[in-house]
Symmetry: C2
Subunit: 337 residues, 2 copies
């Protein structure tokens, strides 16, 4: 009746990758033979693409990047030069090397190849509907990034919440706290209640939720809700393990404080637990002071709850170098005594 969880350990990953490899060589490899109906080989096309992508390069860089035989590449470039596709100028810095670049003509060929490549992929994904296309793009993008092919820029976007985001926040927080601290389902219930109340009573002018997204995945969040007369409450700060080390927590807290200030609140409060040291450091650096501590038993654990507060009057974001995230990097002046 109830089946096993879909276990996928290391060995299983290998089999999945192997299956993908076979599938991909069968399906895509077909398109490569007489590359896209052009007089060029797949390898030639790769060289042309690489030349177009980098402004000008050396032959050795190309052999390196594309794992080509230097002799083979040399002949290929000679042929390209013969057709007026590439310019090979002496490298002024190094007499041995030559600087290669595409001519106008060569760039036209590159553009043509790119168009054909797009068309061929367009055919490939033709049977997919929009949702499936998005899923495919996300999957292959993620695979590329995981295998080290993507740019290293994290590109984390902050945006307002949309349909389904509360659920994603609940899921990511519950999973994280259960796995990291062994908290029980009570925590997921609490987060769900908070989120439900947020949606029910949401007042856009005085409340807000920030969703941090990276490549379409939710990687962090923070909420600001009314707490009383002129008091706002910061809630549910969370940064996913995968996105830590980029100052996202600080960024979220800063956004939140700034909005609270603009919305006219005088004081910002938050409740947290002492074991969440990373979060505490962020609060401290932002200027929060610890107001109260109290032991409690929740989420199946003995914990120490903490209430922190920040005076929003004249608050200014502490100056910190972007990406400088070591615990000591907060300027001491902004830390409470």
């Amino acid at each position: 009746m109830i089946a096993m969880p879909a276990g996928q350990d290391g060995a299983d990953t290998i089999e999945t990758v192997r299956a993908f490899n076979r599938f991909y060589t069968n399906r895509i490899g077909v398109l490569d033979r007489a590359y896209l109906d052009t007089p060029y080989t797949l390898t030639e096309a790769r060289v042309i693409y690489e030349l177009a992508a980098r402004g000008s390069t050396s032959a050795s860089q190309l052999t390196e990047e594309l794992s080509l035989d230097p002799a083979y590449l040399s002949r290929m470039l000679k042929a390209f030069a013969g057709k007026g596709m590439v310019d090979a100028a002496k490298d002024p810095a190094d007499g041995r090397g030559r600087l290669l670049s595409l001519t106008e003509n060569g760039r036209a060929v590159a553009a043509d190849l790119a168009t054909r490549s797009r068309e061929s992929i367009s055919t490939l994904i033709a049977p997919l509907d929009e949702t499936e296309r998005l899923a495919l793009g996300a999957s292959l993008g993620k695979a590329t990034r995981l295998l080290g092919g993507g740019e290293s820029s994290p590109a984390i976007l902050l945006r307002d919440h949309r349909a389904g985001d509360m659920g994603r926040v609940i899921a990511s927080q519950a999973k994280s706290y259960v796995e990291t601290y062994g908290w029980n389902a009570e925590y997921e219930a609490l987060v769900a209640e908070i989120c439900a109340n947020f949606l029910r009573n949401f007042d856009p002018s005085r409340e807000r939720c920030w969703i941090a997204e990276q490549h379409g995945d939710l990687v962090g969040s923070i909420f600001l809700v009314k707490g009383g007369e002129s008091t706002a409450k910061l809630r549910l700060l969370h940064v996913d393990a995968a996105a830590r080390g980029h100052g996202l927590g600080t960024r979220l807290v800063t956004e939140c404080i700034r909005f609270a200030q603009e919305a006219g609140y005088g004081r910002l409060e938050l409740w947290t637990n002492d074991i969440l040291t990373a979060a505490r450091r962020i609060y401290q650096s932002a200027g929060f002071r610890l107001e109260k501590e109290e032991a409690h038993h929740s989420f199946g654990q003995d914990l120490v709850g903490q209430i922190w507060a920040l005076d929003l009057e004249g608050w200014q974001a502490p100056v910190r170098l972007p990406e400088a995230l070591s615990p000591a990097s907060g300027t001491p002046a902004t830390q409470p005594a």
Copy 2:
């Protein structure tokens, strides 16, 4: 402050696939040249793999599947036969064709190739931690399935809820109802409340949640909770668009009813809305009767709520052919008058 949603339309998908293609040929293609340190070409290895995978085949099937030149394959098979790797028996059914199969020897070669392939991939994913490996497997698996390489078997598993599942349920339902029926955030709030209460008051002997998972994605869910003396409530039935057409809804409802019966309830109730016709059909086929209808304004819409009920005394699952899912497929005998 607030950035654009990470828009990824059709054109964007194409670019992602192209980038992946380039990356993959550069990264993986390298491994292919002198295939895995064996005397075999990549193409030869593909043929060997295919022969190992199918018990016995014809040459024409291989050329078809791997897009090979028949002449080329013929020569290759001859060479394999010479080395005692393949057996080519006359096809009794068709005198023109021959049935190909690997010999003991050939199977040993296939096993060796598989091992080397696994090792090479193991190296490739060595820098990834466990979470990243799982993500890679999931991504490539999904890409394979999307592009039509996976087995068509849906393989939907039902299991109890785990940490984070409530969040996933909330997210998928909210997204789905907002997109399909234009419901507002009130609905997400309601689902979140229901889930929170479920977790808070969860009584494993009399309550239960089923999560339907396909390839690691949540594709459906259903809840059973206490409703009163001897009455149980069925809640939050949902089947994701991607998983419809496999009888999952019926399967979930059947599981739920069966559990309710075993748990000793006498009556099962549920609340739904008349616009959810697919769900209603499932309830009807299972034997539920419409007890009450009432117009209400919720989720930003004018809706008609319905209460359905089922007498659990002596209930038996209606007989239906597996995968026979057309609305009329429920046997009339089991449908309420």
